[in-house]
């Protein structure tokens, strides 16, 4: 019937033009350097990376001079909402349609794994700072495309795990975020605890972004372990610690925050967080150089100080740009070779080096959170309790389970 025919024809045209509309945007750019910052802008990990990570990347571009071979360097960013499928979608469009050359930050481990696999497939570069799963340089490594820049679960457990067991915390119970990162952290810390002579009483898995930890902490309490290990990060860690304080867990047990950054301490407050041991790859108040950069960051971020993730985004972006300059091209293989060849000596790390398997090795620091009486003001939160050399903290190349590299 004619009516139906016209109706369906119009419908088809509408559907068709809706789809084609987006097809026209995004031309492949040949020789402009385009950097993509893929992060969580407003969710669970927004303080960890988020707008701070984007700001850090832009600062790096700015300090580099803003131009590469006469063309403007472009920084784009996207919010993946902590969902690997959204992240994959964005990264695919970036690599396929918008000529983005490198994806930086990639926070959360599930996202990082997806993006690294994609970068391998599309022959692009990815530098991960905001994820900790050690699989990035082991089972799921991509030596020709992916770099893991900031700490990983092995380094975290090596530094914090060993320190706490040495201190007498020899029985553990884990509160684990139920995804790649949490599982990695729990596994690696358990290994460290056992090899240091301790034992693991058990673990409970919680969904990412849980707001009420009461029932999980209750299980931790009944396990009788001396230490409750928090194998989670960001908002989850903050909420776990708050709930532990509310339920008086800390009266009889010790909390170990396996991944905590200075922004988390800021969210919890010194009252609740005091005494906690943690490890980071960097701190804003380490020396004059770090303080100077932190001031620059603060100015564009409403007075907030940077955490180690932000600092590493800056350093990684700068290193990438320098490598492109040295290589004379943004071709993936050439740039990756240069990045591994050049050492990293900036406010983030001294004598840092990127290995065959994509692992960036740098020093790690053991910190303890100050008591409120010891702090001279906001953001003055840490005592430096020790420095662990990169080669001691990270897994050695010989132990790496990355297939296809020369060890």
């Amino acid at each position: 019937m004619k009516r139906k025919l016209i109706a369906t024809a119009i419908a088809a045209v509408l559907a068709g033009s809706a789809s084609l509309a987006t097809a026209q945007q995004g031309k492949l750019s040949g020789d402009a350097v385009k950097i993509g910052v893929l992060t969580d802008m407003s969710g669970l990990y927004a303080d960890y990376g988020g707008p701070g990570a984007v700001a850090a990347a832009r600062l790096a571009v700015q300090d580099f001079g803003g131009k590469m071979f006469g063309k403007d360097i472009v920084v784009v960013n996207a919010d993946h909402q902590n969902k690997p499928d959204v992240a994959k979608n964005v990264a695919q469009q970036w690599f396929d349609r918008e000529g983005v050359d490198i994806s930086v930050e990639n926070l959360n481990s599930a996202v990082a794994l997806t993006v690294q696999a994609l970068a391998k497939e599309k022959n692009k570069i990815t530098i991960t700072t905001g994820a900790a799963t050690a699989r990035l340089t082991n089972e799921d490594c991509a030596p020709a495309n992916g770099i893991h820049y900031l700490m990983d679960t092995i380094a975290l457990s090596n530094v914090v795990g060993k320190a706490i067991v040495k201190d007498g915390g020899d029985s553990w119970y884990f509160l684990t975020a139920d995804y790649a990162f949490g599982h990695s952290l729990e596994k690696d810390t358990s290994e460290v605890v056992r090899s240091s002579g301790g034992k693991v009483n058990g673990a409970v898995r919680h969904p990412l972004g849980t707001s009420d930890f009461s029932s999980f902490l209750l299980q931790a309490q009944t396990s009788g372990a001396k230490v409750v290990g928090l194998a989670n990060a960001g908002g989850d860690t903050v909420n776990s610690i708050k709930a532990a304080a509310e339920f008086g867990i800390t009266r009889r047990q010790n909390l170990a925050a396996l991944l905590m950054l200075v922004t988390d301490v800021h969210a919890i407050g010194l009252n609740t967080a005091q005494g906690l041991y943690l490890t980071e790859g960097w701190y804003w108040d380490l020396n004059a150089e770090t303080r100077a950069w932190s001031d620059k960051f603060s100015k564009v971020m409403n007075g907030r100080k940077p955490n180690s993730n932000h600092a590493s985004v800056y350093s990684a972006t700068m290193h990438y740009l320098k490598a492109v300059q040295a290589a004379g091209t943004d071709d993936t293989a050439a740039v990756m070779a240069k990045m591994k060849e050049m050492p990293i000596n900036d406010m983030f790390a001294k004598g840092g080096k990127i290995r065959e398997d994509g692992r960036m090795v740098h020093d790690m620091y053991l910190f303890q959170v100050k008591k409120p009486s010891e702090s001279k003001g906001t953001w003055d939160y840490y005592h430096l309790r020790g420095t662990v050399k990169g080669d001691d903290a990270f897994q050695s190349l010989a132990q790496s389970r990355c297939p296809g590299i020369k060890k």
Binding site: M41, S42, A46, S214, S215, Q219
Partner: protein, 295 residues
Amino acid sequence: MDQIFGVPVQAFMGQLMLGLVNGSFYAILSLGLAVIFGMLNIVNFAHGALYMVGAFFAWMLLNYAGLNYWFALLLAPLAVGLIGVIIEKTMLRWLHGLDHLYGLLLTFGLALLLEGLFREFYGSSGQPYELPEVFRGGFDLGFMFLPKYRAWVVFASIFLCLAVWYVIEKTKLGAYLRAGTENPNLVKAFGINVPLMVTLTYAFGVALAGLAGVMAAPIYQVSPLMGSNIIIIVFAVVVIGGMGSILGSIITGLALGLVEGLTKVFYAELSSTVVFIIMVIVLMVRPAGLFGREK
């Protein structure tokens, strides 16, 4: 006896206690839903979002106006109730003669809208809400440390639920409401303003949700996602209890909170699913719900 069914008493009683706290929230929320459905035949998908709005309102009162928890307990439900009035008068009213499914779809859309708006302005990780001073600390019950605030939540919710039930089932006002749903024309003929009653009932139902939100603020993060996290479970509670039954939803809410808590002790992985399993069983055996009347 140190163990019950092979589990330490501490764990058992502790999880039961926590289950009771959760159950209190389920009870208040399903109460509001049941009132709205029983009176208006609308499945209010926006209930979770309005619960979230209540919590945010409490947070805003504290952070922007310096008004504490006790003010919030009074003002937030009023504000949410006002929003309910607006929703009913401007949108739900148009759907009166239509298939009930449209009411569900409309409120679903509203839920998305509200959640999106708050996510846009406040991010999704949540804001902390300080426990009021008087509730800090807790009781050491031996088998667990019970924070004072959680005890307050349980008592306040039970009291509130019973009060509402009493009003609806035992007072003249309640009788008007029930009559108005059964036969609006007849009730109108008696000179009672039925449209006004409908609006106020919706407003009251969502005000209950707003109140629950204020009570939830110190315990759960005040986050735009808090509504969608809880709403599906509350729906299941209402279906199990019987979609129009006030008493049914109160009892079922509390009971299911306890069941969830118990499941966490024995088989933790099942705890999120057990409510739905029970729902399926109930629907097969008693399709109208445990306390419901087939409509």
